[in-house]
């Protein structure tokens, strides 16, 4: 099953696209696994995810920690710390 990844702000600019559908390989169980896998997909991902600790993640539009399991996620968003308000 394809998972929709959405990127915002400088994560979006560095990866070079606002969203994509990906087939997650076996063994990608947590958000941290996903970030590690994505980072290996090319220079633009390496640039965006150079410091994975600062990347904030939402699954199905709710904030999650990096240890969160991603099973059942329809939509996973990656973005920098928020600066609204």
């Amino acid at each position: 099953m394809a998972t929709k990844l959405i990127y915002f702000a400088w994560v979006r600019e560095r990866i070079g696209k606002p969203e994509e559908d990906v087939e997650l390989p076996a063994g990608i169980e947590t958000v941290a696994d996903l970030l590690r896998w994505l980072k290996s997909r090319g220079e633009e991902y390496e640039h965006a995810l150079q410091y994975p600790d600062v990347i904030r993640v939402a699954i199905n539009q709710e904030h999650v920690e990096h240890r969160e399991k991603i099973a059942g996620a329809r939509e996973i968003a990656l973005f920098p710390p928020m600066t609204g308000g």
């Binding site: 915002f8 400088w10 968003a77 920098p80 928020m82 600066t83 308000g85």
Partner: protein, 159 residues
């Protein structure tokens, strides 16, 4: 308290009218004794900026602000609550965000408005990009650690 308070949450490109939003909460009611409004505006940073561009996560922005608003309603005896956050390009002097809280007494209204702004800053999915007045390329605004700390102080029960 009269009935369940349903917060008004709007994410919009266009500006808002602060007086009209207060009137919307207080109209036809005689039980509200305090209304607190917080309005965040775009600064020009000593002439350095020509605009801020606000990117947001459609869907999640509404959902997350509704979650924060729901938490405020649980924690304080509010009679009305409005949060409006703009997206798109906002010029110096223009409005960015509005929080209106209504309660019988001022303490709850002040505290809830403060809580809402602290949480909006650290949890609502919005990102500001600077546009420079001199035409040079602007960057993304960095998140401030102080904003995270400000949100953190509400974790301890305050009442």
């Amino acid at each position: 308290m009269s009935g369940v308070v349903v917060p008004v949450v709007r994410i919009q490109r266009e500006d808002f009218d602060v007086a009209a939003e207060i009137a919307r909460l207080t109209e036809g009611r005689a039980d509200i004794g305090a209304v607190v409004t917080f309005c965040g505006l775009c600064r020009d940073e000593q002439g350095r900026l020509s605009a801020l561009e606000l990117e947001h996560y459609p869907g999640m922005a509404e959902a997350e602000i509704a979650r924060i608003a729901g938490e405020a309603i649980e924690r304080w005896p509010l009679q009305g609550l409005t949060v409006i956050h703009r997206h798109g390009k906002v010029r110096p002097g223009e409005n960015i965000v509005l929080v209106v809280t209504a309660s019988a007494h001022r303490q709850a209204a002040f505290e809830a408005a403060n809580f809402l702004m602290d949480y909006l800053k650290s949890r609502a999915p919005f990102w500001k990009k600077e546009h420079h007045a001199d035409g040079s390329a602007g960057g993304w605004v960095d998140a401030k650690e102080i904003d995270d700390k400000a949100a953190g102080r509400w974790k301890a029960p305050s009442k």
